[in-house]
């Protein structure tokens, strides 16, 4: 997490003054991102009707989902509203599945001796990084 701390520091040093000015003018603080979006390398027709993947069907049951052709015919954008960490993980998995036919796994690989702390930290940090913070 060292780099993250310095990321914050650098942002503070470089952009602090500008950010303050910006906020004052806008009056409102931007909230957390409302949509989580990925672009999948397939045509929109592959995501609808009989072709619609089950995972996408499940997402639409609980979330507003927007499916749009990307400009220039460069794939299809899938945006999910109010996506929490678990949903973000599902959306990333959906993209992987649509493009490569499977969801890549890293759990279960060889590893050497973990410290007690490490044994607890590996799955937690993995989950954090898989979901991403927002």
């Amino acid at each position: 997490m060292v780099a993250k701390r310095s990321l914050g520091l650098a942002a503070l040093a470089a952009g602090g003054a500008i950010a303050v000015g910006y906020r004052r003018r806008k009056a409102v603080r931007p909230g957390p991102a409302e949509w989580f979006a990925v672009t999948v390398d397939c045509g929109p027709e592959e995501l609808s009707g009989a072709n619609r993947p089950d995972a996408l069907g499940r997402l639409t049951e609980h979330h507003e989902v927007r499916i749009t052709p990307a400009p220039g015919g460069r794939g299809t954008e899938i945006a999910v509203h109010a996506a929490d960490g678990k949903v973000r993980e599902e959306v990333r998995a959906l993209k992987q599945f649509l493009e490569t036919g499977e969801v890549l796994r890293v759990e279960g690989q060889p590893e050497g001796h973990r410290t007690v702390l490490g044994r607890a930290a590996v799955p937690v940090s993995r989950q954090l990084m898989r979901r991403g913070v927002r």
Binding site: K4, S6, L7, E99, G101
Partner: protein
């Protein structure tokens, strides 16, 4: 099996770990026959790559034999001798299909850290921290290779192991540095760093039409090796002022292309170096950037700076003024190995590319901790230590 694990800053150890197994249908398992140290590992050793955890198996530049294939593997066969690209691609996303394999969207299952740091994540890399996907590395008896059909390449019979192993990383990286810089016949190319990557960039520059290549380092044995094996002229940055020397050697113009093959632990002389070290040590900047600044400063007006050295975060005193006012083009990236490896193996078979001299220290995997010590401290002329399990 035995594997080399990162156990802490500047600490590695050979440990007994479980064998890898097929985790995805497109995986292959490779029995490793040669696995090399790389300058990128020094960033891990020195603790500049966050998200390393004690117990992580490291190593990413390797050669071996396919011993098992997942049910959806179509092209790879058990028994094939293969070199595996250090950076993992899926072969199907838009970036892979555009031959920008290190920008793969799917091979890094845990992209969150890099997304926060950089906006978007890089592809997965073997043995290179959890931020890069947390893949077990190749300093081991066996390694699991995801998307085996696109990441493992059969090696032509006539190419020796000692040459082919570097088709995994150093050779395609060097080639990419020259290729993305758009070298044109008659160009003068300067290369910072005479490690495996810099040497291969120098060689590639000539093969792509450069008329003169000037390689820069301070280690006499590396300078001599670079001159002998690539035909480049050399500069010792502890002996001469690099910027003055390059101006003089290029009639005041500066090199057309500057390749930076040093990375975030760039060494240097003088006050700027001291400043960089202190700031990096207290994490006020993550990356030291002296050779990068030099490359930008030296480059001719309208020229191209090609950055192969690895940076992860921020460099201080980045000379944006020079980039802007000299109209420079900046190119960079982790290597797109899959784009070059088949061609490079052919060139190796034809005798046009030979990297085997980089292998200065063949060692048993058991001796890998000593190998890293030698490689890190550049002892005994070590350019690359290569481990055999």
């Amino acid at each position: 099996m035995k594997a080399l694990c990162w156990t802490g800053v500047n600490e590695v150890a050979v440990e007994e770990v479980p064998d890898p197994r097929i985790l995805n249908r497109q995986d292959v398992i490779v029995r490793v026959t040669a696995s090399s140290t790389c300058g990128s590992d020094l960033h891990l050793l020195d603790g500049y790559v966050p998200t390393m955890m004690a117990g992580d198996v490291i190593g990413h530049e390797f050669l071996g034999e396919v011993v098992e294939t997942g049910p959806d593997v179509r092209d790879r066969r058990v028994g094939e001798r293969v070199v595996v690209c250090s950076i993992i691609g899926c072969g199907r996303c838009r970036n892979c299909r555009a031959e920008m394999w290190s920008l793969c969207d799917n091979s890094n299952p845990d992209p969150g850290f890099l997304e926060t740091l950089n906006g978007h994540a890089t592809a997965g890399i073997f043995g290179y921290s959890h931020a890069m996907g947390g893949f077990a590395g190749s300093h081991a008896e066996y390694v699991r290779v995801p998307y085996g059909d696109v990441n493992a390449f059969p090696v032509p019979e006539g190419v020796a192991d000692a040459n082919a192993v570097f088709a995994s990383d150093a050779v395609p990286t060097g080639w990419m540095g020259a290729d993305i810089a758009g070298i044109r016949p008659g160009d003068v190319v300067a290369v910072w760093g005479c490690g495996g990557v810099g040497q291969m960039a120098a060689r590639a520059a000539f093969l792509l039409g450069a008329e003169r290549v000037i390689a820069i380092d301070r280690l006499p044995e590396r300078l001599e090796m670079t001159a002998r094996h690539t035909g480049a002229e050399t500069l010792d940055y502890e002996e001469v002022d690099v910027l003055d020397a390059l101006k003089e050697m290029t009639g005041g113009r500066g090199p057309d292309v500057c390749v930076e093959a040093v990375g975030m632990e760039g060494h240097g002389t003088g006050a700027q170096y001291a400043y960089d070290r202190v700031k990096q040590a207290v994490r006020l900047q993550t990356d030291r950037g002296l050779p990068l600044r030099q490359a930008i400063h030296a480059c001719r007006k309208g020229g191209t700076v090609s950055v192969l050295g690895v940076y992860l975060g921020f460099v201080d005193k980045f000379p944006m003024g020079a980039v802007m006012n000299k109209g420079l083009t900046l190119r960079s990236g982790q290597q797109h190995g899959q784009r070059y490896i088949p061609m490079l193996l052919e060139r190796m078979a034809a005798g046009e590319v030979d990297a085997s001299h980089l292998l200065t220290h063949p060692m048993a995997l058991e001796d890998a901790p000593r190998g890293y010590e030698m490689f890190k401290n550049k002892e005994d002329g070590c350019v690359r230590a290569v481990f055999t399990p």
